[in-house]
Amino acid sequence: MFSRKLHNFRNSLLFRLTILYAVAFTVLSTIGFLIFYYRIYAVTMEGLDLELLDKTRKYADLTKEAGLEGVLPEIADETESEDPQEDFYRIFNFKGDILFTTDMSFWGVIDRKDILLKMQNEGLSYAFQTQTFEERDDKARMITAIVGPDTVLQIGESLEEVDEYLDIFLELVSILVISLIIVSTIIGWLLARRATIDMQEVAETAEEIANGSYDRRVQVKGRYREIERLSAAFNSMLDRIQSLLNSMKEINDNIAHDLRSPLARIRGFAEMNLLKEKSIDAYKDMAASTIEECDTLIGMINAMLDITEAEAGVNGVKVEEFELVTLIREACELFRPITEEKKINLKTDLPESLMFKSDRKRMQRIVMNLLENAIKYTPADGTIAVSAAAQNGEIRIDFEDTGMGISENDLPHIFERFYRCDRSRSLGGVGLGLSLVKAYTESMNGTIHVESTLNQGSRFALRFLR
């Protein structure tokens, strides 16, 4: 349980961001301070060397004026007040024979022959060297310089003071770096928390929605741009899901209504016939109406399956080449008795020939459904015009009627399953015809558009890529 929590925490964005921030800050500040430290060190050493060189120059001038005898009292003056552990002075000739020295008891044996040899070989008038005294954990910076004829002055200065000073500096820097790491971790955590707390809220809302509160929304305003975008996208997705849920619920209600009504009629009719002895004709009537109601139900279920199949793309489109003009003419011909009876003028405007490669059966159904729809909603003495043509690499088929039209409120919904403009559902039909037309059209890579004016007529326009 605990290890799982730890694992979750270690995988959290908050933890990762904080660590990343702290590490980046630590590395950068450490590098910065190291560079700073070594610059300080170099500057200090340079200053020391300059000081030593200045001293030797001073004594060289003195030697020139007053000889060795003039220099010695000066050195004695210089060293008198000082601790013999801090520095030493020696004067020797080119062979290395000591001519003068301060108290060397603390310093012990210090090389002079090697440096003389090196200076002679390289023709130098002075040279610096650093000697480490391991047993004392101390270092000394020395200068060896020619100050006169056959006279060499060697000055050594302990680095203890410099080291101490640099050690204090290093200590300070370390304390600074460590506290910076701590502060940066805290700041990093705070920053990461501010960024993730909004995300956590989005996540919490999502969890609530998953538990069924579909009307919950994330607050969008007053957030970081990224989170604002995420929240807005999240909310619009929720709106879409909710509207889908609502329409599914509506479809369910409609299915329940549309399936129930025929069943209620069948049941009621059968019950009535059983309650009283009836004539054989009454029973026949009941049987016939039962079959009619059943056929309606079967038709509805099949249409629903057809729509679902077309939308899901199962039992895909069967492509064959066929004559579209013939197909439309045949469909119109089939409805001819109905239009004649209703005194509807069914006109066609078709070219000689229009070959089309697609699913013929589905096209038959599309044309029949749109024709049937037009006939159903067009009153007597109205006109229905069917036209088709090839243009701009497309095939267009238009169905225009002078029927009752579709109101603006209904227009966006007419392709929805079970949607019917007349709420009373008195005109018959189950409201699947146009849904099927749309599903089939789209399964054949076509589009359908409808324009309509109430009480003036409608126009359904099909477009297919050739």
């Binding site: 026949k284 009537d285 049987a287 016939a288 109406s289 039962t290 079959i291 009619e292 059943c294 056929d295 079967i298 038709g299 099949n302 399956l305 199949e309 199962v314 039992n315 045949e330 011909e333 089939l334 409805f335 008795p337 109905i338 009876e341 059966k361 038959q364 159904r365 029949m368 459904n369 049937e372 006939i375 159903k376 018959g428 039909g429 015809g433």
Partner: protein
Amino acid sequence: MRLLLVEDDIKIAQFVVNGLKEAGFAVDHAANGEDGLHLALTEPYDIAVVDLMLPKVDGLTLIEEVRRNDINTPVLILSAKRSVDDRVKGLKTGSDDYLVKPFAFAELLARVQALIRRSTHVTAPSELKVADLTLDLNARKVFRADEEIMLQPLEFSLLEYLMRNAGRVVSKTMIMEHVWDYNFSPQTNVVEARICYLRDKIDNHYDLKLIHTVRGVGYVLKEAS
């Protein structure tokens, strides 16, 4: 004609058996695949009607087994599965036709009779005749009592279909499918309208009515009502 029906739904089996008996078939009914297979392998049938989802042995296995034994009895599958894939699978197994439940009995009967006709190789007639109505298939002409009746192409093919199935009820769906090649029925009753037109020309001026409506089921062309 002997017919084997393998169907586990007792109510469906009952009405199919009754209907087929009335149509003159000798019907054996098996309620599961095992019994059905046994009957199919031991008895000589002219046709078998088989449901796909059966207890013990399923329909497809039954048909495969029958075909493996070199029995070429025509088989019609009855199934609630309506997808094209299922149909193709059924037909590939060796069945001869496929009818989706729920179905109209008239359609089952027509298909059974068509399968038998096909397997017994009846030659196509050139003339159809019911009472004093004659339809000349070659000249595409129709006569009633020696008087020529002018029909539109759609009406001619409708009448031809009714006469080929004379005495048998054909449903609206069957007419849409077999006469006009539409595999669905529109809500608007285009078949009824067309039958009305046909009646006007064939029956109206004659005492003997030939085209009859069977409410809820379909239409039948026969001499006596």
